[in-house]
C-alpha cells in the first residue's frame, strides 16, 4: 500500500489527532462525510480575510477577486471530471443536483425513469415525486453479489427517457459499470444521470469517457466543505431543460413582459451562491490532484481488499459487501444478535466512528440485505492498515462479549 504516503498526508488532517473517549480517533465514516485537510480549512479563512464580496455583481476590487475565485473553482471542477467550465452547475449537494434535474427534465405522463435498488433516497424520492405527473419509475434489480441486472437495460422499453444510477453504492460499495450502462441507454434513446457522490472522491471520473449526460456529486465527501455540490450538464442537452429556481444572476435581461434567461451554467444558479464553498472545493481538488486520483483509487482498493479480508476472518459477522465485480472501501455488516446502533455505540466507546441504521437506502437494506439496519465502515485516503487491525480487534471483542454468532 505505497501508492501514497499516508503517514505524511495524515498530518494535514488536524481532526485525526483527536482523542475520542480516551482513544485515538479512528474515522471510518467517510461515506457520510470526509474529513478536511488544513489546506481547505485555512483556505476558507483566507477567503473571508482576503477575497470576500459578492461576485458577478459589483465591479470593485474585491468583487473582481471573488468573481475570479468562483470562476477558478468552476474551472478546477471542470478539469477534474473532464468537462467544460460552462457544464458545471454549482449546487448545495448531490441531493439538490438530482432534485434540480427532476424539475428541469422534460418528463411527462407515461415516460419511464429507470433507477436502481442500490440508490440512496436522494436518487429515488425526486423520481417518485414525478409519479403524480404520470411518470413511471422502474427499479433495476441487483443479484446476490449486489451487481445490477444489466439485462434490464438491454431489454428496456423505448419509453424510458432517463436512466439514473449510482456510480458507487453507499451501502454495498458496488461500483457500477456506468460506461457500459450509458452506452446501452443511449442506444435506446434515454438520457443518463450518474450519482457520483461516492465515486468522484475515490476514483478518476471522466464524463467524456463515461459518456453520461448528467453527473452529480457533493463537495463534503471529497475533502471539501459542506454546502457545495456539483451538477454536470452535457452542454448539447442543456436547451432541453427548463428552469429550476428563478432570481438574480440567472437572467440576461429582465423587462416586465420580456425575460431573457442566461445560458448554462448561470441559468441554474439563481441568487447569491456559496462562493466560500466553491473556493474550498477548488482547494480540495488541488489537494486530490497533488496526490493523483489514480493513486487515491489504488490506495482505496488496497484498503478495501484488506478490510474485507480481515473482517471475513471474524466469526459472528454478517458482511454484505465485497462481493460485486468491482467495489470500494465500504463495508456494510452486522454482528449476529446485535442491532447496528449498539455495535456503533460499543465502537464509539473505543474512539471508532462508523455509521449504523438504514444509510438513507431503506428499500435496499430492507429488501435486499433483509435486515432492519446495518453497520457501515467506510474508509478514505487517510485511513491505515493499522486502523483496520484495531477496528477488527475491537469488533472481535464485541462479537465475543455480546454477539450471538
Amino acid at each position: 500500500m505505497n501508492s501514497l504516503n499516508v503517514q505524511r498526508l495524515r498530518k494535514d488532517f488536524p481532526i485525526l489527532k483527536k482523542k475520542v473517549n480516551g482513544h485515538n480517533l479512528i474515522y471510518f465514516d467517510s461515506a457520510a462525510t470526509s474529513q478536511k485537510p488544513k489546506q481547505v480549512i485555512d483556505g476558507i479563512k483566507y477567503f473571508y480575510e482576503n477575497l470576500n464580496s459578492n461576485p458577478l455583481r459589483s465591479i470593485h476590487y474585491l468583487a473582481e477577486r471573488a468573481t475570479e475565485a468562483y470562476s477558478d473553482a468552476r474551472d478546477k471542477v471542470a478539469k477534474f471530471i473532464n468537462a467544460a467550465p460552462e457544464e458545471i452547475v454549482f449546487v448545495r449537494n448531490t441531493t439538490e443536483a438530482i432534485n434540480l434535474l427532476s424539475f428541469a427534465l422534460p418528463l411527462a405522463k407515461d415516460d419511464i425513469v429507470a433507477t436502481t435498488y442500490l440508490e440512496h433516497h436522494s436518487n429515488l424520492l425526486p423520481w417518485f415525486n414525478l409519479r403524480n405527473k404520470g411518470v413511471m419509475v422502474e427499479i433495476v434489480d441487483v443479484d446476490k453479489n449486489m451487481d445490477l441486472d444489466l439485462s434490464y437495460y438491454e431489454d428496456m422499453s423505448e419509453k424510458t427517457k432517463l436512466v439514473t444510477l449510482s456510480h458507487e453504492s453507499n451501502v454495498s460499495g458496488t461500483i457500477n459499470d456506468a460506461k457500459k450502462i450509458s452506452r446501452i441507454a443511449h442506444k435506446k434513446g434515454a438520457m443518463v444521470l450518474v450519482d457520483a457522490a461516492q465515486s468522484v472522491p475515490h476514483l478518476p471520473v471522466d464524463v467524456k469517457e463515461l459518456d453520461v449526460d448528467f453527473l452529480a456529486f457533493s463537495g463534503h465527501k471529497m475533502l471539501g466543505p459542506f454546502g457545495i455540490g456539483v451538477l454536470y450538464v452535457r452542454k448539447s442537452i442543456s436547451n432541453q431543460l427548463s428552469n429550476f429556481l428563478s432570481g438574480g444572476e440567472m437572467i440576461k435581461s429582465v423587462r416586465l413582459n420580456d425575460v431573457v434567461y442566461a445560458d448554462l451554467p448561470n441559468r441554474f444558479e439563481a441568487g447569491t451562491q456559496n462562493i466560500e464553498g466553491a473556493y474550498g472545493l477548488g482547494l480540495a481538488i488541488d489537494y486530490l490532484n497533488a496526490i493523483g486520483m489514480r493513486n487515491v483509487e489504488k490506495y482505496g482498493h488496497a484498503l478495501a481488499l484488506e478490510l474485507f479480508e480481515k473482517m471475513g476472518q471474524i466469526k459472528g459477522l454478517e458482511i454484505y459487501g465485497g462481493k460485486s465485480r468491482n467495489f470500494g472501501a465500504i463495508a456494510a455488516f452486522n454482528v449476529k444478535g446485535l442491532h447496528s446502533h449498539d455495535v456503533a455505540y460499543f465502537l464509539d466507546k473505543k474512539g471508532i466512528a462508523i455509521r449504523s441504521g438504514f444509510h438513507c437506502a431503506q428499500p435496499f437494506v430492507e429488501d435486499k440485505l433483509r435486515v432492519n439496519g446495518a453497520c457501515r465502515a467506510s474508509l478514505y485516503l487517510y485511513n491505515t492498515s493499522h486502523e483496520i487491525d484495531t477496528f477488527c480487534g475491537e469488533l472481535k471483542k464485541i462479537v465475543n462479549t455480546y454477539g450471538r454468532g
Partner: protein, 125 residues
C-alpha cells in the same frame, strides 16, 4: 456515560418480558424509528379505566427493546390517565439511568410513543 448501565440489560434484550402478540387485545399500534430501523407493535388490553395488559412485538436496539419491555411490565394495572403524562424521564427512571444521549433519545421513546398513541386512540370509550 451512565448509558453504559443499559447494557446490563443484555439478558432482557435477548428474552424480553411482555414479548409476543397476545390472543386478546383491544388496540394495537406501531412504533417506528426511521433512523434506526426500530420497528415495534404494541398490544393493549383495557379493563375499564385501567390497563389490564400490554405486550409488544418487533425488534430494535438494546435501548429501545429494553425500554419498551420495561414499560410494558410497568404499565400493567396502571390507570390509562397516567400514560399521556409520561415522558423520557419516566423511561430513564425505569432504566435506572440519569442521562440518555441526544442520538439515543428516540430509541428510548419509540415504545412509549406507540403506547401513548394506542391509549389516545381509545380515549373516548
Amino acid at each position: 456515560m451512565d448509558e453504559d448501565k443499559v447494557y446490563e440489560f443484555l439478558d432482557l434484550y435477548r428474552n424480553p418480558e411482555q414479548f409476543g402478540k397476545p390472543k386478546d387485545f383491544d388496540v394495537e399500534e406501531e412504533g417506528f424509528s426511521e433512523s434506526c430501523g426500530d420497528n415495534f407493535t404494541v398490544y393493549l388490553k383495557f379493563d375499564g379505566d385501567s390497563i389490564r395488559d400490554v405486550h409488544f412485538e418487533g425488534s430494535g436496539c438494546i435501548i429501545s427493546t429494553v425500554s419498551i419491555s420495561k414499560l410494558c411490565s410497568a404499565l400493567r394495572g396502571r390507570r390509562r390517565s397516567s400514560v399521556p403524562k409520561m415522558g423520557i424521564d419516566d423511561v430513564k427512571k425505569l432504566l435506572g439511568v440519569k442521562t440518555i444521549s441526544m442520538s439515543r433519545a428516540r430509541c428510548a421513546t419509540v415504545g412509549l410513543d406507540a403506547i401513548k398513541l394506542a391509549v389516545e386512540k381509545t380515549g373516548d370509550e
